[in-house]
C-alpha cells in the first residue's frame, strides 16, 4: 500500500497576508481548483484541516481516467503534489470564519491567523456521519473509529463491531476480518444497500457474524470500548422503529460506517445557501448565493449526488475559471 507522503509547507513564515484566492479544502476539488487558478496566475492559498480528502481512505480507485487501479492515498498525493508544483501555498488549519469586506473577504483560521482574499472556493467535502450516542465521542481513538483502512491493524485478535449496511461497512468488515478474531456486522434493517457481491462475500466469511435488525444505543467501557448496548428494531412501511428490546454485546472496538454528511458549517456561517440536506447550492458556474464565494466537489448539491473524484476535479476547474472571470470583471 502506498502512503500519503506529501509534505505540506507548514512553515508559518511562508504564508502571505493577501491572496487572490483562498481555497478551503485540499481534496480533489480543492487541488484541481488550485491547479487551474495558478494557470491564471492567481495568488492561491489552500487552507485545509486534512489533506487529500476522503479519497485517501479508499484502498483502490479504479475509475479515475488515465490512472487505473491507483491506491486512494497515491491519488491524493498526486493531486497535492500537482497543486504544490504550481506554487500553491498549502496550510493545515481549520477555517473559523469568512467575513465579507468591501474589497473581498477576511478569512480567519482557528489558530487566529487572518488572511485577505479577493475570492473564495469552498471545497470542504464530506465527513463521516456519527451515531450520536453516549460514549461515541469519549471513546474516539480508544475503540471508536470511522476508517477501517486506517485503524484495522490495531484490532489484531480482538472482537470488533461494524455498523452500517452499505458498501463501506461491508468492505470494512472484510478488511477487519483479516486482522480481528471476530467481526460483528450490525445493521438497523434486515436488508442491505451494499452490492450483492459484497453481501455474498461477507456471508461466506466465517469470521463475520451478521446481527440485524439492531441499532446502537450506547458505547460503554472504562478506559476503552468494552460493550455495546443495542436495541432491536422492526421495519414498518419502510420506517425503522425501535422495539424496546435491549441487548448487550462485548466488543473491543466499533467501526461506524453509516454514511457521510456535508462539511458545510463554514458555508452556513458565511451566509451561503444550502439545500435541505445541508449541501451548498451552486449554479452551472459553481457560484454560490454569496458573490465572490464559489464551491466545488462533494460539499455541493450537484457533486454529492454522484460522489466521484472525476466530477470533483471538474467542478474545481470550473470554479477556478469562474473565479478568474469574476476577478477580471471587477477590475
Amino acid at each position: 500500500m502506498s502512503l500519503l507522503t506529501f509534505q505540506a509547507p507548514v512553515e508559518e513564515e511562508e504564508i502571505k497576508e493577501r491572496y487572490d484566492l483562498v481555497i478551503v479544502g485540499a481534496g480533489p476539488a480543492g487541488c484541481s481548483a488550485a491547479i487551474y487558478a495558478r494557470r491564471f496566475q492567481l495568488e492561491t492559498l489552500i487552507v485545509a484541516k486534512e489533506l487529500g480528502g476522503l479519497i485517501v481512505d479508499a484502498e483502490i480507485v479504479d475509475n479515475y481516467p488515465g490512472l487505473p487501479e491507483i491506491p486512494g492515498s497515491e491519488l491524493g498525493n498526486k493531486f497535492l503534489e500537482h497543486a504544490k508544483k504550481y506554487m500553491t501555498n498549502i496550510i493545515m488549519e481549520e477555517v473559523e470564519s469568512i467575513e465579507k469586506k468591501e474589497s473581498g473577504f477576511l478569512v480567519r483560521t482557528m489558530d487566529e491567523k487572518t488572511i485577505e482574499a479577493k475570492a473564495i472556493i469552498l471545497a470542504t467535502g464530506e465527513k463521516h456521519r456519527k451515531l450520536n450516542v453516549p460514549g461515541e465521542e469519549e471513546f474516539l481513538g480508544r475503540g471508536v473509529s470511522y476508517c477501517g483502512l486506517c485503524d484495522a491493524p490495531l484490532f489484531k485478535d480482538r472482537v470488533v463491531a461494524v455498523v452500517g449496511g452499505g458498501n463501506v461497512a461491508f468492505s470494512d468488515a472484510q478488511l477487519l476480518a483479516k486482522h480481528a478474531k471476530k467481526v460483528i456486522l450490525i445493521h438497523r434493517r434486515n436488508w442491505f444497500r451494499a452490492d450483492p457481491i459484497e453481501v455474498k462475500r461477507v456471508k461466506e466469511n466465517s469470521k463475520i457474524e451478521i446481527l440485524t435488525p439492531y441499532i446502537v444505543r450506547e458505547i460503554k467501557g472504562d478506559m476503552k470500548v468494552e460493550k455495546l448496548l443495542l436495541e432491536k428494531t422492526k421495519e414498518v412501511g419502510g420506517e425503522v422503529i425501535p422495539t424496546g428490546e435491549l441487548k448487550e454485546i462485548e466488543v473491543d472496538g466499533i467501526f461506524v460506517d453509516i454514511g457521510l454528511v456535508p462539511n458545510s458549517e463554514l458555508a452556513k456561517k458565511s451566509g451561503v445557501a444550502v439545500d435541505e440536506r445541508g449541501y451548498i447550492i451552486v449554479d452551472d458556474f459553481m457560484r454560490t448565493s454569496v458573490e465572490g464565494i464559489f464551491a466545488a466537489g462533494d460539499v455541493t448539491d450537484k457533486g454529492s449526488k454522484f460522489r466521484q473524484v472525476v466530477l470533483a476535479a471538474a467542478q474545481g476547474a470550473i470554479a477556478a475559471i469562474s473565479v478568474y472571470n469574476y476577478l477580471k470583471s471587477k477590475e
Partner: protein, 142 residues
C-alpha cells in the same frame, strides 16, 4: 587611561563575559529538544517523559497509517518551533505495542502531551497544525 578607568573596564569586561555566558547557557539546546522530533521506543519512553521539566508531545503513529504521514510535517514543524521549550517525540505503535496499549491507543494518529510523566492532554486524529499547537502552547512552562 587612569587607574579608575582601567578598573571600570575590567569590571565591564567581566560583566560582559558573564552576560554572554548566561545567554549561551540559556540557548544551549536540550539534547532532546533540538528542533527535531525524537524517536521513542519501549526502552527510552519512561525515561524521556519522566525526566523532563518541559512538556512532552508524543505522536503515536504507524508506517501504514496515512493520516499519520499527513501530520508528520506538522509534528516536525512544532519540534523546530518549540526547540528548547518542549520535547516533541514520535512513537511507532507497531514497534512499541506495550506503550501503545498502556495508553489505550486504538486509533492513530493520537497525540498525548505529558507533563512530569503524566498525560495531561490527548488529541485523536489528523487535526492539523492549529489544534495541536494550541494544546502544546497551553502546557508550556514559560
Amino acid at each position: 587611561m587612569d587607574e579608575e578607568d582601567r578598573e571600570l573596564e575590567k569590571i565591564l569586561q567581566r560583566k560582559m563575559k558573564e552576560l554572554l555566558h548566561a545567554t549561551q547557557r540559556k540557548t544551549t539546546p536540550h539534547p532532546l529538544s533540538e528542533g527535531k522530533a525524537v524517536k521513542l521506543t519501549s526502552e527510552n519512553f519512561d525515561k524521556v517523559i519522566n525526566n523532563s521539566d518541559m512538556p512532552v508531545l508524543v505522536d503515536f503513529w504507524a508506517e501504514w497509517c496515512m493520516p499519520c504521514h499527513m501530520m508528520s510535517p506538522v509534528v516536525e514543524a512544532l519540534a523546530k518551533k518549540y526547540a528548547g521549550k518542549a520535547i516533541v517525540a514520535k512513537l511507532n505503535v507497531d514497534e512499541s505495542p506495550d506503550i501503545a496499549q498502556r495508553y489505550y491507543i486504538m486509533g492513530i494518529p493520537t497525540f498525548i502531551i505529558f507533563k512530569n510523566g503524566k498525560p495531561v492532554e490527548k488529541i485523536v486524529g489528523a487535526v492539523g497544525r492549529g489544534p495541536l499547537e494550541k494544546a502544546l502552547r497551553k502546557h508550556l512552562t514559560t
